[in-house]
Symmetry: C2
Subunit: 464 residues, 2 copies
Amino acid sequence: MQKPSIPKGTRDFGPQQVARRNHIFGVVRRVFEKFGYAPLETPTMENLSVLTGKYGDEGDQLLFKILNSGDFAKDVSADDLAAGSKKILPKVAEKGLRYDLTVPFARYVVMNRGQLTLPFKRYQIQPVWRADRPQRGRYREFVQCDADVVGTTSLLCEAEIVLMIDEVLSTLGLTDFTIKINHRGVLSGIYQALGGEGTESDLFVAIDKLDKIGRDGVTRELLERGFSQGAIDKVFQYLEVGGSFDEKLSTLRTAFGADGVLADATAGPARGLADLEQVQGYLQDFGFENFARLDFDVTLARGLSYYTGCIFEVKVNNVQMGSISGGGRYDNLTGAFGLPGLSGVGFSFGVDRIYDVLEELKLFPEDVAAAPLCLVANFDHEGRATVLPLLKALRDAGLSAELYPEVSKLKKQFEYADKRGIRYLLLAGPDERAAGQVKLRDMRSGTEQMLPLAEAATEVQKLA
Amino acid sequence: MQKPSIPKGTRDFGPQQVARRNHIFGVVRRVFEKFGYAPLETPTMENLSVLTGKYGDEGDQLLFKILNSGDFAKDVSADDLAAGSKKILPKVAEKGLRYDLTVPFARYVVMNRGQLTLPFKRYQIQPVWRADRPQRGRYREFVQCDADVVGTTSLLCEAEIVLMIDEVLSTLGLTDFTIKINHRGVLSGIYQALGGEGTESDLFVAIDKLDKIGRDGVTRELLERGFSQGAIDKVFQYLEVGGSFDEKLSTLRTAFGADGVLADATAGPARGLADLEQVQGYLQDFGFENFARLDFDVTLARGLSYYTGCIFEVKVNNVQMGSISGGGRYDNLTGAFGLPGLSGVGFSFGVDRIYDVLEELKLFPEDVAAAPLCLVANFDHEGRATVLPLLKALRDAGLSAELYPEVSKLKKQFEYADKRGIRYLLLAGPDERAAGQVKLRDMRSGTEQMLPLAEAATEVQKLA
């Protein structure tokens, strides 16, 4: 018989991993809810008509498609077969697995536009699937935690995203991280300042790679894309603007002014700088104390996404790990489904990366464990009239507890408690029962004490 | 543009539905954990080699298959196409969606047998997918909540299943339900008592339909399957045994003795009756108080499943709804993956049905809602230095709260609070601010009170 296996890029999560992942989800969920976001869940499968074309050609390739049920090949002709998979696909598959949480959210908003109260604030914590090549930290099934609000342009939402990121990560025990913020208008301003060389998207894509390929790599790429060396020098003058948040705002305002791109005060770089300043103002009014973690990073570009306003990304310092959170404002998320003009802003936590970071930094609390607190030892069948009520009393006190299910050697029961990481072992053998007592052993410290049987549950509750 | 839609048999869950479903999951999870079960999660996709052949021919049809990535049709020949979908399937799909939680659990146990501490108690709360024809109460994506323990034959586990079912349903507010229990050995005994007519599985399948097709229907089916009228009469003598739990045990023991099927005291009907008696004994030792809910139902058969010992099913009385929970003991769950002889027992809650029952009986608590507790009204931009710290104070007090994101008419903000079901509206307009106060409006009662601004968060916390 073949040894069973799981598909590559997928994982089983054993008890401790689930408990630790739930710890992260719990913190994220509580913060989202404290900020007024309401939960939404969408189906695992979406129609391919909803998914296709939303993630670029590469994304379409990475969609997992579901084979139609029944006689799926009945409409495939010999000509289709000769033409190849691309021709066959629409005839054999009409559904696919969710690729992210953003497109299903947009689809939900459009389908329910009549009933929704705007602004609509939703969070969503669900797995997504991508047929990507698996590698360290990249899986084919992974969970995203998104929060978005649509139907308002208020920059209060951007300020609150900074607060939520800060609170989630702080609550998880992280202290040394950077919340990078930038604005698509600022990036547009840099492009406009070049006076029309190349294309804006080529510029953004190149800037997005600065982290990975460095100044030389970006220069090479921009030269290839038709930017002049003079323009590239100007780009880097902008990207290397330094100083505090305020100093960067001021330096950029002067530079954009000199380059003559602040003419329209409500768009582009002017809007970008004004928005960033207002977000900063909201944070000050909130009494936000961790400005040292907030970095106005002119080089942050967030690739070729649908963002149009503020953009965010979070890096944990001193840990080898990509960004653990990111997001931004978009002006036309639902346009693809026929509902234009609905502005929104959202962000997402990458749980798998956060998990790895917390594990590396040993930040999971000790009490985040999947084992029950108590094991009642099983000495003999005669004891059941004593140990079953004891077990019930422990559970009635809200404690997790179990009886070793079989009468067996105490050594084996000890090992079981030890391997599962059970904290307290309660022993009520014939001697203890005769004395109306139970022996409580702390498996962590190895200390033991005798307790009156009737008070055992209350005593353990005090320790827990 | 086409209006977007979701695949048939799938559902979006809006804020209130998610909150209510999480309420159910939370209760189930807490009870599972209190009884020492540890969480497990397995991938959405399993290899078809793991899934196929485990659910019968019909089950194989109902599996959702995932199209292989890339040029999926490259190995399909014209001959394959002529032979049809069945021939093509293994060449275009090697993965499928999880169909239940039991097979992935067995696969996990076998893959991790070296590391697992036996007995292994796991619970699993995850969606499953079946390409079934959607109808009322039947979906293509639905969540199962399973708890299983493998590696022990102790009947303590069966007794605890009764306790867990009773506690979960009681905690959810249900009072009028029946936990049916039976034993495959008892059913085997009935078959053995017939002296070799027909087949055991035909008998079990027919008995399983008694609820739906009645005595006449079962009689007709058994006659068709080659059972004599005399044998059928004997079957019904057994099925209609009445009285209390003890009386049924006693009547059956006498009848089985008279029919000469108690010879082997460790198997078949003898084991069945002894097991049921011991489960009852454990429950008595636990001080279980709801014996009135426990029904030894000789007609309970649980279809053609892999059960070999005790079987369970739960019906809510006076509500039109199939069983909301079920399970039983199996002696060879992991045999299909090459690990024989591992006994286990498990059961499952059907969350979608429980949801519908709780809704019908109006048993969802009022505070299970997805809306934040507080909305701070947004009067004017000048107020932000007051309302943002107020908002922070509410959240720091652990309350969910939001500021209406835009300055707009109070009427609109009232409507928003009302539609979202927000309980408290906090108003700090120019007058209140000048007086260092905030007006608190209870949206449910319509009452209003003035609070000192600095104490508002503490006061609302007291009300919550």
